[in-house]
């Protein structure tokens, strides 16, 4: 044979092999498509994969004593897979879900996804509704119940502004890289601690890929990626203090901020009136939201950091420290209070018309003599007052991360020239010396001030997590004797006869503090029957125990009248709750739950 023939033989063999290969493929095709075709057609029609997101349980939020403030609760939603919804009519489905037919129709039309992606028809179903729907589901192929994780807030209104609440992601958030990987229907923190620590609490959603039949029943699990629970966090909050304080406000507008003097940890954070975060977690209705936002007491206002008030006589703490430090007064220097002083054509009165007569610093604080501090102010001048007020954290934001904070105002000659374009008048120093006039503060700032006086002059940034590293912002650098003299006088305010906050005297611990009554209108009226909105704001700043302070706080009651009668009792209750042994607090929490 020639090599020519040999090679064409080989080509022939290759040709036969190829034809054999084609034959095998044709036979296989015949087998799959013709012989088993109808069986495969059926499988392809019932072949439905479903990817179900498994929401991750959120981390639990605890108070400083390990008492849980929240629990995870299931949130049921009814959804339908459009491609599989062939059974019932929209009107019968509407009746089942209690949703108007037109709404269902528009929801199903609006969807831009594949017909195999479930469309949410109703959210926040009760357990009763779930079982009702479940029982009738076989009449509605494609209908399914989906479960998300929402929150139950164990303390309701008590923790509204503090713990905050969850809500559906806003369109803006879903674009935010911060929320990358969060399923579109998931709840995320929208307020308070829930929002602040959302990333930590959130966890990672899992996934279940299941195969389902034409009725949407699960046939088998193909793939499972379990969710990862979010991290638990422990707040610095003492819920016993928080609850006692919230209760003591009895719904009156106001705020309380309590701090741990040696670390700056926030022990209590009340803005009253509050709202029930559980309403939000259930998916708040339009009418409920309307009611909340229209309420004249502004429950959504975060008063502790967002409202500014003149500090009133609580400002005398700063005046006393400044006076002693600058040497313009000593504990022996005395002023004769005759119920007021005249300056030019103006008259500045003391709250006690009959006067305090000859009075020293200690008693001037205990009895809150205005005339004494007019004199201190006159000697210091506004700029030295400014210097001491700012050393104790007033006039700047405290850094509490629970919302957009106001910074208050501590006036100075420079400030007045810049904003009012007029020079400072001595008469204005008198007014500001008793915490009236331009000076204004937030409850949070006053708590920081009280806390730093209690700890000897250190301003810490308030922190919300338990055991957070204390962040020293300012060291006022005042002499320990000065602080001791002032603290001793503040102890007298509560514990000595004639003190303005005698109601706060406690059998449990020694409380020191200072009352304040901030004028709402310029002219002080002497009527007890003044209409409520013209009544003065009541302040009380306090710390306890005096000997070794463990808690410092500010209390403000809007239009509460006198600080000693309206605000001091709230502080007393909060402090006494805080002083309870931890076991007792846990017991109480258990009862409440």
């Amino acid at each position: 044979m020639s090599s020519e023939n040999k090679s064409s033989n080989r080509i022939l063999i290759m040709g036969y092999l190829l034809i054999a290969g084609f034959a095998i493929i044709l036979i296989r095709l015949w087998q799959l498509q013709v012989l088993q075709g109808s069986a495969f057609r059926k499988i392809s029609e019932s072949n439905r994969l479903r990817v179900i997101g498994v929401p991750a349980p959120r981390g639990i939020i605890f108070d400083r004593n390990g008492i849980p403030l929240v629990k995870n609760v299931p949130y049921f939603c009814a959804s339908v897979i459009p491609a599989e919804f062939t059974g019932g009519t929209l009107s019968s489905l509407g009746r089942l879900l209690n949703v108007p037919e037109e709404e269902l129709e528009s929801k199903m039309r609006k969807t831009q996804q594949s017909p195999f992606t479930p469309v949410r028809l109703r959210e926040g179903l009760s357990l009763k509704e779930v079982s009702y729907i479940e029982a009738r589901r076989s009449d509605f192929p494609g209908l399914m119940i989906e479960i998300e994780v929402s929150r139950g807030y164990l303390y309701g209104e008590t923790s509204g502004h503090l713990v905050g609440y969850l809500g559906k992601m806003t369109p803006r958030q879903s674009q935010d890289p911060e929320f990358k990987g969060v399923p579109p229907n998931a709840f995320v923190g929208q307020w308070g601690v829930e929002r602040l620590f959302d990333k930590t609490l959130r966890g990672t959603a899992g996934q279940r890929v299941i195969e389902v039949d034409a009725l949407g029943r699960e046939i088998r699990l193909l793939l499972e990626k379990p969710p990862v629970k979010g991290e638990d966090i422990s707040l610095s909050i003492d819920i016993a203090l928080q609850a006692a304080a919230e209760k003591a406000f009895q719904g009156r507008p106001g705020a309380l901020v309590a701090l741990k003097p040696d670390t700056g940890e926030i022990l209590g954070y009340v803005s009253s009136p509050s709202f029930d975060p559980n309403k939000f977690a259930k998916g708040i209705g339009a009418d409920e939201w309307e009611a909340l936002s229209q309420d004249k007491n502004l429950p959504m206002l975060n008063r502790a950091i967002q409202s500014q008030y003149p500090p009133g006589s609580t400002f005398k703490i700063i005046m006393a420290i400044a006076g002693l430090e600058e040497g313009v007064i000593s504990d022996s220097s005395k002023v004769d209070c005759r119920g007021g002083i005249s300056f030019g054509k103006w008259h500045f009165g003391c709250w006690r018309k009959t006067g305090h007569h000859v009075i020293s610093l200690h008693r001037a604080l205990v009895e809150s003599c205005d005339v004494y501090f007019y004199d201190v102010g006159r000697q210091l001048g506004i700029d030295r007052i400014y210097s001491y007020a700012t050393k104790f954290g007033l006039g700047s934001k405290t850094g509490i991360p629970l919302g957009v904070e106001k910074k208050g105002l501590i006036p100075s000659t420079k400030w007045k020239m810049e904003t009012k374009k007029t020079p400072w008048f001595l008469g204005e120093t008198f007014v500001n010396s008793i915490g009236q006039g331009y000076v204004s503060t937030t409850p949070a700032q006053m708590a920081v001030m009280m806390s730093s006086v209690a700890n000897g002059g250190k301003v810490y940034k308030p922190s919300i997590l338990k055991g957070a590293k204390p962040e020293l912002l300012i060291d006022a650098g005042v002499k320990p004797e000065t602080i001791e003299k002032v603290k001793d006088a503040l102890k007298g305010v509560v514990n000595e006869p004639g003190g303005t906050a005698g109601v706060a005297k406690s059998a449990v611990t020694t409380i020191g503090g200072k009352t304040g009554t901030a004028q709402v209108v310029g002219i002080r009226k002497e009527s007890k029957f003044l209409s409520e909105k013209f009544r003065d704001h009541a302040w009380f700043v306090a710390f306890a125990p005096v000997e070794e302070p463990q808690v410092a706080m500010s209390v403000l009651v809007e239009h509460g009248g006198h600080g000693g009668t309206a605000a001091a009792p709230i502080a007393k209750k909060a402090i006494e709750a805080y002083m309870l042994p931890v076991e007792k607090k846990r017991e109480q929490a258990y009862v409440q739950d």
Partner: protein, 373 residues
């Protein structure tokens, strides 16, 4: 060299040319169907990209048939070395896709050198074999293997691009068979192969990546892991089978668009086609491939010289291997090896390389007469 001769037009291989274009058009249509997104306004632009690559491919085809293929033998060695260098670059600096490094980025373009390497390998081997006279003996076989096949084979396995490695291996032995092996060498290969099979198999198995092992397990028992690779095979069989005799109709398939079928526009594109066009359509498509391959074999027979013959044989074998392995895997009669269906699967580099290969094939046939010039 670029002279347009009347005989060039006269002898042009219109059959191969038309066949690859028709198959490619069917491919674009099927890519469109496979990647459509039901219920969404925005449609996947992949089929448009594929159509553009088809135009690029046509240019490549015409370029590679316009000069006498004998030129390829003259540049075979430098081109072969360049090809090896590219494979090495991929290994060192390549982009990873699907767990293997196969891509090189050149600015905005990413391409897979291994796609072109197959053709380069065929040209090199054709050149080498065409210089040998008579049947290949044992010694000759070993020498050829170590000179030409060993290095690229190692590089491809390292990537790992097991699919291309296997294809290159098969092309190598098939071309040797086409060239003609001495009986002794043939028998020896068969015996050695049989003896070392368990041993080699063991080495291969331990050397495989997990996903490769899974594919083999799944091939033997698809139900063993219905959510993993067995799932691919099952879904592919469901897609093909549910097409029945006449198919569900163009754009009526559900397996692809609703994502039951993975790799629906690349490796499993035949399943999408078979679902929509049924047994009848599939037979027509298979006949087009049969035509392409048989025409290639005929070109082997008619080639005017040894080099042209080996070239045509190599390319035809390459098309055949791709075709059989891909269809076999889609139909569940071969293990899942990630290799595309020539001219059908989505992928620019592969389409261009296939068109260039077809261009060379046409070149050999068009210049089949010895007294051409």
């Amino acid at each position: 060299m670029f002279k347009i001769d009347r005989r060039l037009i006269q002898n042009f291989d219109w059959v191969t040319f038309a066949t690859v274009i028709v198959i490619s058009l069917i491919g674009i249509m099927t890519v469109f169907s496979a990647t459509r997104q039901p219920g969404q306004a925005a449609q996947s632009p992949l089929f448009i990209k594929q159509a553009m690559w088809l135009l690029v491919g046509l240019v490549g085809l015409i370029a590679f048939m316009s000069f006498d293929y004998i030129w390829l033998s003259r540049i075979s060695i430098p081109v072969y070395i360049t090809g090896l260098v590219f494979l090495l670059i991929v290994l060192i600096a390549g982009k990873t896709g699907m767990g293997a490094q196969r891509w090189i980025s050149l600015g905005p373009i990413a391409f897979q050198p291994s796609e072109f390497f197959k053709l380069i390998f065929i040209i090199m081997l054709s050149q080498y074999l065409s210089l040998l006279r008579g049947g290949i003996g044992m010694l000759q076989l070993l020498r050829t293997f170590f000179i030409i096949a060993f290095i690229p084979f190692i590089l491809l396995v390292k990537q790992p691009d097991l699919g291309t490695a296997i294809v290159v291996f098969i092309i190598f032995f098939s071309m040797l068979l086409a060239k003609g092996l001495q009986r002794k060498a043939l028998v020896l290969i068969v015996i050695l192969g049989l003896v070392s099979l368990p041993f080699l198999g063991n080495i291969m198995w331990t050397g495989l990546k997990d996903y490769q092992k899974n594919r083999l397990i799944a091939f033997v028992d698809p139900e063993a892991d219905p959510s993993g690779i067995g799932y691919h095979i099952n879904q592919s069989k469901i897609a093909v089978g549910s097409g029945e005799v006449l198919g569900k109709g163009f754009l009526k398939g559900t397996q692809g668009p609703f994502r039951f079928l993975p790799e629906r526009h690349t490796d499993f594109i035949f399943a999408v086609f078979a679902e929509e066009w049924g047994f009848a359509g599939s037979v027509v498509l298979l006949m087009l491939y049969l035509l392409l391959i048989m025409r290639g074999l005929d070109t082997v027979r008619k080639a005017k010289d040894e080099f042209g013959m080996m070239l045509a044989a190599g390319i035809t074998i390459m098309f055949s291997v791709y075709f059989f392995v891909n269809i076999g895997m889609t139909l569940g009669i071969m293990p899942v090896v990630g290799i595309p269906l020539p001219f059908m699967s989505y992928g620019g580099t592969a389409l261009l390389s296939n068109f260039i290969s077809a261009g060379v094939l046409i070149n050999v046939r068009t210049r089949r007469f010895t007294l051409f010039y």
